[in-house]
């Protein structure tokens, strides 16, 4: 082994280790890859948050690209995300549906009244079963569903302008093309 290699090798080993550690620091262990991407959205039939007599089914939304945003009045991060959604809805890029997850009707409705309602409609998932079918584990979560009812994107945690610009908008453009 030449002399210079003897000095370079530990340095290389250190750089590789540092590289792995730096990558590890930037990974979010909460961001679990969803097995649902590329699979048909689970079936559901839920009443509207604002009208217990009206039901919305998965089949009702086939044929258009739509966004499902999981929210709850008890969810602090949803409050942080909400102004972004109101802005996003104003641009009318896509029908936006809410999944009001494990909430109570009056509280959910009160929340929308207070902070504004960006949703075409909110589905009322009182016991969280539809949430489980969508693999929801941390509210807020956002799904993009295509015309065939296939889940194309899932974002865990509050939406940010960056996420909307760099992940949501491109896929909407692609799906609506």
């Amino acid at each position: 082994m030449s002399k210079s290699l003897r000095y370079i090798l530990p340095l290389l080993a250190f750089l590789v280790l540092a590289g792995f550690l730096a990558r590890g620091l930037n990974l979010d262990p909460r961001e679990v890859p969803s097995p649902l991407i590329g699979k048909p959205a689970p079936g559901f039939a839920l009443t509207r948050l604002d009208d217990a007599a009206q039901t919305i089914k998965r089949e009702d939304l086939l044929g258009k690209v739509w966004v499902l945003n999981v929210w709850a009045s008890w969810c602090v991060a949803c409050r942080e995300e909400h102004p972004m959604l109101v802005e996003f809805a104003k641009r009318k890029l896509v029908p936006l549906y809410g999944l009001n997850y494990k909430d109570k009707r009056p509280e959910g409705l009160g929340w929308l009244q207070q902070f504004g309602n960006p949703y075409n409609a909110s589905l009322f998932d009182e016991d969280g079963r539809v949430g489980i079918d969508f693999g929801v584990y941390g509210v807020p979560e956002t799904f993009v569903i295509d015309k065939q009812g296939v889940i194309r994107l899932k974002h865990i945690g509050p939406l940010t302008p960056d996420v909307i610009r760099e992940r949501i908008e491109p896929i909407l453009k692609q799906l609506n093309a």
């Binding site: 969803s34 097995p35 494990k102 016991d127 969280g128 079963r129 489980i132 969508f134 584990y137």
Partner: protein, 150 residues
């Protein structure tokens, strides 16, 4: 004889009736509850990731325990329940990840490291064994002078 038969039937009916009453809340069935605990102890809670679904008090874990209870009461077997969970949350929920192409490194990485380490050790030791005396630093004679005489 006849009256005892009626008594027997009546007691049987009572037994079934009371059994039907007990079965209603699944949690009250200790066998089912034990199965539920055994299965959920193998599953990672996604909210507090270092706890199992059996241990966690997170809302989601409670809901998933309820779900497992219902599936067991319906007669689903363990494999079906595990499938139900991985369909929704991926292999991430399994504390025993399945062996497949993407998890090979996870399963065999540690053994691979040991093999590499041993190989490196063997190479170094053989090289040293073959090296001539001239390759090593000469012994310092001062270290070998008789110290016990002084």
């Amino acid at each position: 004889m006849r009256s005892s038969l009626i008594a027997l039937l009546a007691s049987l009916w009572l037994a079934f009736a009371s059994h039907a009453n007990e079965a209603a809340p699944a949690a009250a069935d200790p066998v089912l509850e034990a199965r539920m605990t055994r299965i959920t102890a193998e599953l990672r809670c996604l909210v507090c990731q270092n706890q199992t679904i059996a241990d966690s008090n997170a809302d989601l874990a409670q809901d998933l325990r309820r779900q497992v209870r219902e599936m067991l009461a319906r007669g689903d077997d363990d494999a079906k329940i595990i499938q139900y969970m991985t369909d929704r949350y991926g292999d991430f929920v399994l504390y025993r990840p399945p062996m497949k192409a993407t998890t090979m490194l996870l399963w065999f990485g540690p053994a691979l490291m040991v093999v590499l380490g041993l190989a490196a050790l063997a190479v170094v030791m053989r090289r040293r064994a073959r090296a001539g005396a001239a390759q090593f630093e000469p012994d310092d004679p001062a270290l070998f002078t008789d110290t016990h005489q002084s």
